[in-house]
Symmetry: C2
Subunit: 241 residues, 2 copies
DNA sequence: CCAAAAGTGTTAACAGTACACCCATGG
DNA sequence: CCATGGGTGTACTGTTAACACTTTTGG
């Protein structure tokens, strides 16, 4: 441990240097599944640059001015932006850091590095989203139909990265349970897998996989049945750990 | 597309605002496997904070001053730091972004966000590393023996994240080939898997897996044999795509 | 009764696991 | 000739994939 005096002096000297710094933002790829189709939340930008263009929700990370005001954590910034831009209450979505995009020319305003997160929203909460103050509106867009090139900044690339991540994790992690209502049927969960992977899944085989999850205690049966068109289906719920 | 004038004006206005910004660094978890043991490259810090402590190599991302000097890409910064801190030529290691650490209090100097990368270095290049100017020395440390709590900043946490990532990818991606010399034997490759997973692998079963990779064209036999103690072994090379 | 979705069963192919065994070489 | 690592074969197991089949409902 070095002497506190020299340490403090070194820190003060470093603060005085002040090399140019980049601005840092967080951007969010907010996903849900409705009508067996994967959707991403896009805003329409109120202000330049890319005014009136579609973009991912996001904003600047708050950094305090003084030495003893460091500001907010990155996670906190992501949660705050999700709340501000969608109106959804905190903790109502699964949030995970995705990747950091720092190409030198990615923002016309100068050097802006963005830490991208993705969020998974349950379909029963999806209709509740409302536009924040820096957006003219918000919209759930079918991921398959989004024109990547028409998005602001490098947001098309960020969307692609999120898709790759989610597709890679769907079979090995419980993220699918963040894309169904609190209680769900076998077919509803299967629809989530199919929407994300973009391929059909054999109903019988999926059911067996589902059964294993029940045996492993990952899922348990819930009371009641779902009346969905034809024959009513049993409902289940995810067992959090 | 908005009018160029209003766009430019908006950008100028934004530049003038100048909210406080974080400093941004890149940190590197440089890994290799020597003597069937996974090693990480640690430096000893020449300057405060954490003077004389062990730390991951890294440094600040260069950001240009003027509007038309955006600076270097994040990837470029990571490659530059790897070269500066190890002396290894560019392109001699596999480099991949790991995670961005932005806890508000992680650096005593103020708000510093770090984009962590991990690098995989072939064992035949490992002895060539030399210390950079901001380090008193560099050392390959056995990952199992590193005292996480004794590392500078949150570097212990970053090391753990790198280990988790590499362990998760070793069975599903070709990263193991970045941890063996250009030509290698079956046993050498198996040693890499064992060092990373920390568990023994049945030689016969691994051999069969290896054979499948040869049949799939991922690996091809190379001329010559390796004289390693007892019976000489066939050597192979990875087929890049 | 019919269509459609819920739910069950059967089978072949394949990859992982455990383990027994032969081969070639340096000492 | 023998210890050691190189290299092969085999039997068992669990998972996946494809597909035929029965059951229960609404119309």
């Amino acid at each position: 441990m070095p002497a506190p005096d020299s340490e403090a002096a070194a820190i003060a000297a470093w603060r005085a240097e002040q090399y140019p710094r980049p601005a840092v933002t967080v951007d969010l790829v907010v996903l849900t599944v409705t009508d067996t189709d994967l959707k991403v939340l896009l805003i329409r930008r109120r202000d330049p640059p890319f005014q009136h263009c579609r973009a991912l929700p996001g904003g600047f990370v708050r950094v305090g001015a003084g030495p003893d005001e460091p500001g907010e954590d990155l996670e906190a910034a992501a949660h705050r932006e999700l709340n501000e831009e969608t109106g959804l209450p905190r903790g109502s979505a699964y949030l995970e850091q995705l990747y950091t995009f720092g190409r030198a020319g990615r923002d016309p305003r100068g050097r802006v590095i963005t830490v991208a997160y993705y969020a998974l929203v349950r379909p029963d909460l999806a209709p509740l989203v409302t536009a924040g103050t820096d957006a003219e509106g918000v919209e759930w867009c079918s991921v398959g139909e989004v024109d990547r090139a028409a998005l602001a900044f490098d947001h098309g690339q960020i969307l692609d990265a999120a898709m790759a991540r989610v597709r890679g994790k769907i079979d090995y992690t419980p993220i699918a349970f963040d894309l169904v209502p609190p209680t769900f049927t076998v077919t509803e969960l299967r629809a989530v897998y199919e929407a994300i992977k973009g391929s059909e899944d054999d109903p019988g085989n999926f059911r067996r996989r589902f059964k294993r999850m029940v045996e492993d205690g990952l899922i348990e049966q819930a009371p009641g049945k779902r009346l969905t068109g034809k024959r009513p289906a049993r409902v289940y719920r995810f067992v959090r750990r």
